[in-house]
Structures are given as structure tokens and as C-alpha cells.
Symmetry: C2
Subunit: 374 residues, 2 copies
């Protein structure tokens, strides 16, 4: 598995320490534990929900990771000074204390050994009863930091994108009337797992026919018919990071006049958005450019969602391409553009989407799947 | 999607209220929110990690559910008196406060409107900063309650089991030398999704050849060879509940003498365990019966894990079939038996597993996949 690097994790911890003043930091959101140490537990294993705590002494920089013993296999290539696995269930001894109280108990036992005055925590994520004092919230600092993607993060995003491209390719080749949405889902997810060589968390929209008029939703046993469009928007978690891009396919390989117009509108829309992608541009202006283009083409009424958003450890994350956003694009942002338009009465629904890295003077297109409906 | 029933949820809330004395209960573990209301969010959608809080006024029984607006689609057929969706991100307005602080803020805003003295919470799950007072922990009460599966829960477990059986059937038919573990995984997961008509969380062990000597692990690109055994242990989340059963298959359809002996040992072991399954029996005695049978057959040394465990909303859960467990089997327990034996030096590894409901006088076998390796 591809992992965040020692250098990347160290640089991010240093960046974090420059912005906080507490004596001790406790990171309890698993995504941020990964961000700062490389420790990633796939949500597909049994003990994935077992709480993990990363402690950082802000004076010395010393890092300590508390995690449940069954997650030890994930600790390889984790960049911390000290690891403390706590025993919960070993598969030969009966579980004693339930896992959540046990994890908190272990954290508090460790905190009692430490000398610290103030604590920086993630509000809403650290559990009630943690023996911390003089608390401040570091959530916003972490979220703000996450906008700038470092090279090791971009490598992980690229690997997720390569996998999704393999999935889109397999689906484009095989889609036809008579398949169900679940059939298309199976083709997509099998191609992705084969590409990466291990299971991934299979998240995505698979919406054909009248379900495409609503814009999305997980696959169902809805049967695809000739003349249908199908929206396929994929955002699996691969090694902890995300790609997120969409294609709309004509099930029978032919387009009605209306579907052709919609395709043109969306292609014009994404091109207008791309033309805006560079540092210094306001997020709302990117939304505006895409909306204007859809308006010119007569499809703005059906465009009720964001024009895109940031992505990385999760999605959506900042910047948000929505009407009133003051956020300004920066070098290191990774974003999607995703014009779509849906109208159940008029009987249409489609979306297209690419992923981009914002560079010093513009952008690099990260995803390379095809956008035409046929 | 199959859901827990209004009656089932009401009965479980009544059972809970009989055992607690606090004025107000706050349920923050999503599994327990489902258990008491039917509200289930698949981990495959974007907002699945958005905190959910169920409040129960223990005097009136009134239930209030706080959840993020984007999860509204999951609120259908949820059995609560009041629903309070909180706005986080709407896809047209920029997200303001981060999701975890926002969820806590909404909970505290609601708590300020209520009159209560004492609070029953789930320690380790409720976030730091929740404005509760005179706190007691109800985790153990909930876990203890979960052992007795109600009819609506058993329906959900049965539906998960039917899906897994479809997967095992597809894999047994198609396994052959030259496939990778990921190929087998893809066949399994496609068959399961096709059976239920929607995606499920694809958890399981797919370990062939020398990987079977270690007992398990997620699928890799390891290529299966003639003569290999492959352990296939499946435990997806289907509608919030689990089935969990294993088959070991001979990749080339033929067994060595050693593999035949191992097969016999495991079949004897599971039969010995089954003979113990009835109310009143100690969990450690079930483990002992299976271990004895493996010993007689010469395979006890390689048996280093539990002989089975409870399952339902999660797994493992009580009762645990491990050496020192004092737990006593009861009517309403749903359990697995899973004898296995592994030895890298001797070059073998296999496991078999079925699921059972403990009934008044014995058990009902819930899973019906085939156990022979060929």
C-alpha cells in the first residue's frame, strides 16, 4: 500500500506546531492521525472503529500513538516516536471493558503520566471525560492546513485517480441496455480492486434512466434501457485518500437531440470552469463561470448543486465552489469541477467531472477519463 | 432496504428504560441509534461520519433524533417522536463550522432547552464538551441487551446471511488456479451486491496458498495455484447487521492427504461445537469441545483463535467462545462457530464457519453454505 512519507508527515507536524500554543495536542480524528503520521486503517477491517489517539508534545515535538492491539498490522511505516497498543480483544481472551470506554481509559492513564498545562483538541471528536485542561480547539487549523496538498498526498490522490480511471474505462466498454445499476457498479468496483490489487471502500453514484433525473444515489436493481443516460460518479477511499470524478454514459450508445444539447452544455461548463482555475480566483467566481455557461445553453435551472469542491482526505472539503463563497484558490488546492443539470419533468439528468491540482500559474488536470456520453 | 420494526425498536427502548435511572439518555454510537430507532446510514455515503445523537427522556419516553441534513434520506421508517436535522453543508451554501464541532454545538443548543438532572451517556463515544451533568455510563447495559436478538433483528441477520450464501455459491463454482485473491473477492462481492440489489460494505478474509497459513487478511493480487487452499471468511454489513461465515476451498478441486485430514478435523470440530449449543452452556465449554476435537485429530496446535463469538450489529460481540469465558449461552444469542488450524511450517491453513441462533432447547443453523473444501 502507498503511504504518506516520513518527510511529508514531519513537515505537516511542524506546520501545525507553528500555529498552536497549547502544551499538548491530542489528535482524535483518524483522518488527521493519518495526515500527521501515515497511520491509516482501512474501514474494511473489523477493528477500524477502535479509537486512535495521537499525542504531540509541542515543546519537544515528541509523538505518541495509542491504538488498539488488533490494528498493529497497520502501524508499519507509521512516523511516530512511540507506539502504545492497548489490549482490547486478542481472540483468545474475552473482551473486558467495551472498546470505547477502554480507549478513553487508556488515554487517561497515559495523560496522568504527562506534565502539561494547556491542551489543543479536536472539538466534537475527543470523547467526553478525557482528562484535559485549558482546552482550545485546533480543528480549524487542521482543516485550513489540509487545503495545501503536499507531494506525498498528491501521490496518494493520483493513485486513487488511476484506479477510478480503470473503473470508468471498464464501464464505458461494457454498458448496454438490460444491465442493472448494480451490474455497472460490480464492473466498476471489480476493475478498481483489480487495478489496485486490494479492496477499496466502494463509494459512488450509479443512477440510470429516471434515477439520473435526481442526480445520483447508490446503485439499485433498476434496469437500464435504450435511450437512458446513466450518471456514474466515483469517490472511493484508496489508501485513505480520494479521487472523485464523474462520467455520464448513453446506455445504448446513441443520444437524443436533447441529450446532445445537455452534453454540449456540460462540456462548455467544465471548460469555462477550467479557464478560471488559478491561484487568486474566488471560489464563487468559478461557480459563476460554470453557471453562466449552463445558462447560455439553457440548462442553468437544473443546476442546483455546487460547481465543485476540494478533495483529499475527504470530500467535500474546502474550497467550495458555491454561490457565496469568499474562499480564494491557492497553489496546492486539489479540486473537482462538476457541472450537472437535472429536470424530472423535462426528462433529463447528467453530470461530468474532472479533478485538478492548482499550480503556480494555473492547474494540472489530474483525471483523464473521457467525458463524452458516447 | 429491510429495516428494524417500530415494535422491535419500542420494545428495546422499554427494556433499556427499565434498567437506567438517569433523567435523560444520549445515545451517540450510531449502531445503538439504529438498534433503538431503525435509523441506519450505510458507511458508503459521503456524510456517514456526521454525528447522530438520539435523546430519550426517560420519564415520558420521548425520543429526539439530531442528524445532519444530508442524511435526511435515511430518516424514512425511523421510529422517533421528533427529528431535528441540523444544517451543515447543503451543496449550495458553503460549509461554515466544521462538522464535528457543529454537531456538538447543535446538541448543546438542544440540551439547553431541556430540563434534566442526571444523564446516561455512552462513555468514550459522546464528545468532550457536551453539556451534560451527573453522568453515568449506559454502555454495558446496551451491550448486554444486544445479546438477545429480537425477531426484527433476526430478519436482518437472515437477509445478510442469504446474501453471503449467494457469494459463497458463486465463488465455489468459479474458483480455479490462475485467479488472484482479488478476482475471487470481485466474484464474491458482485454476487452479494446482485443478490441484495444494492452495494454493501465488503468486509472479509480472502487468503489463498501461503496466505491461508496465516489464517486470513484482505484480498491481494496473490495468484492461486493448483494444490492451494483458500480461506474465504465473509462479514459484510448488510442493512446494518452482519452475517459472518467461512468456507475453505481447494483451488484445483483436489485435496492432498494432509488437506483431507484437516478437513475432517474441522468438520469434526464444528460438529462437536454444535452439540454444545443450547441455553445454559458456558462459552468456554464450547471452545473446549472444539479444541478437544481438533486435538484428537492432531490439529490443536494450529488453533490459536476463538472458537466463535456472538454477532449482530457488529462482530465479535458477546458471547465469546474463548478459553476463560464465564459467559453462559442464552436463548436469543446469535453466534458463529469457526474452527481453524494454521501452520506455516507444516504448510497448511483452513477454517470453516456457520452461524446459529440459540433457541429454547438448542439451536437453529442460520447459514446453509457448503463446508467441504471441494
Amino acid at each position: 500500500m502507498l503511504k504518506l512519507t516520513a518527510d511529508g508527515c514531519r513537515i505537516r507536524r511542524e506546520r501545525l506546531l507553528e500555529q498552536v500554543s497549547s502544551d499538548l495536542l491530542i489528535i482524535s480524528n483518524p483522518r488527521h492521525v493519518q495526515y500527521l503520521t501515515g497511520f491509516f486503517v482501512t474501514p474494511l477491517v473489523l477493528a477500524h472503529h477502535a479509537p486512535v489517539f495521537l499525542l504531540i508534545d509541542t515543546k519537544t515535538g515528541k509523538t505518541t500513538l495509542l491504538f488498539q492491539n488488533m490494528l498493529g498490522g497497520f502501524a508499519e511505516d507509521t512516523h511516530v516516536d512511540e507506539m502504545i497498543p492497548y489490549n482490547w480483544y486478542t481472540a483468545t481472551t474475552r473482551a473486558g471493558m467495551p472498546i470505547y470506554p477502554k480507549a478513553l481509559h487508556e488515554l487517561n492513564q497515559h495523560l496522568e503520566k504527562l506534565t502539561f498545562g494547556s491542551t489543543g483538541i479536536e472539538i466534537g471528536s475527543l470523547p467526553y471525560g478525557a482528562k484535559v485542561r485549558d482546552v482550545s480547539d485546533i480543528t480549524t487549523v487542521l482543516l485550513e492546513m489540509r487545503r495545501h496538498k503536499d507531494p506525498d498526498e498528491i501521490d496518494l490522490i493520483r493513485s486513487a485517480i488511476r484506479a477510478i480511471e480503470a473503473g470508468h474505462k471498464a464501464v464505458r466498454k461494457s454498458i448496454r441496455p438490460g444491465l442493472t445499476e448494480v451490474d455497472v457498479y460490480n464492473t466498476m468496483m471489480s476493475a478498481i480492486a483489480s487495478h489496485v490489487g486490494h479492496p477499496v471502500v466502494p463509494m459512488g453514484d450509479f443512477a440510470g434512466g429516471i434515477r439520473a433525473f435526481q442526480g445520483g444515489g447508490p446503485a439499485t436493481d433498476n434496469v437500464l434501457e435504450a435511450g437512458d443516460l446513466m450518471i456514474i460518479d466515483i469517490f472511493p477511499i484508496v489508501n485513505g485518500y480520494k479521487g472523485d470524478f464523474t462520467t455520464t454514459l448513453a446506455v445504448s450508445g446513441e443520444l437524443t437531440e436533447q441529450q446532445e444539447k445537455l452534453q454540449t452544455a456540460l462540456l462548455d461548463g467544465i471548460a469555462a470552469g477550467e479557464a478560471m482555475l488559478k491561484p487568486g480566483v474566488r471560489a464563487r467566481a468559478v461557480h459563476g463561470a460554470i453557471q453562466d455557461e449552463l445558462r447560455i445553453n439553457g440548462f442553468a435551472e437544473g443546476f442546483g448543486h455546487h460547481a465543485g469542491h476540494g478533495l483529499g482526505l475527504s470530500h467535500p472539503e474546502a474550497p467550495y465552489f458555491v454561490p457565496h463563497s469568499d474562499e480564494i484558490l491557492r497553489e496546492g488546492d486539489v479540486v473537482t469541477l462538476e457541472p450537472g443539470s437535472y429536470d424530472a419533468e423535462a426528462g433529463y439528468g447528467a453530470r461530468i467531472e474532472h479533478n485538478y491540482l492548482i499550480t503556480e500559474y494555473g492547474y494540472e488536470q489530474l483525471s483523464h477519463h473521457l467525458l463524452p456520453f458516447v
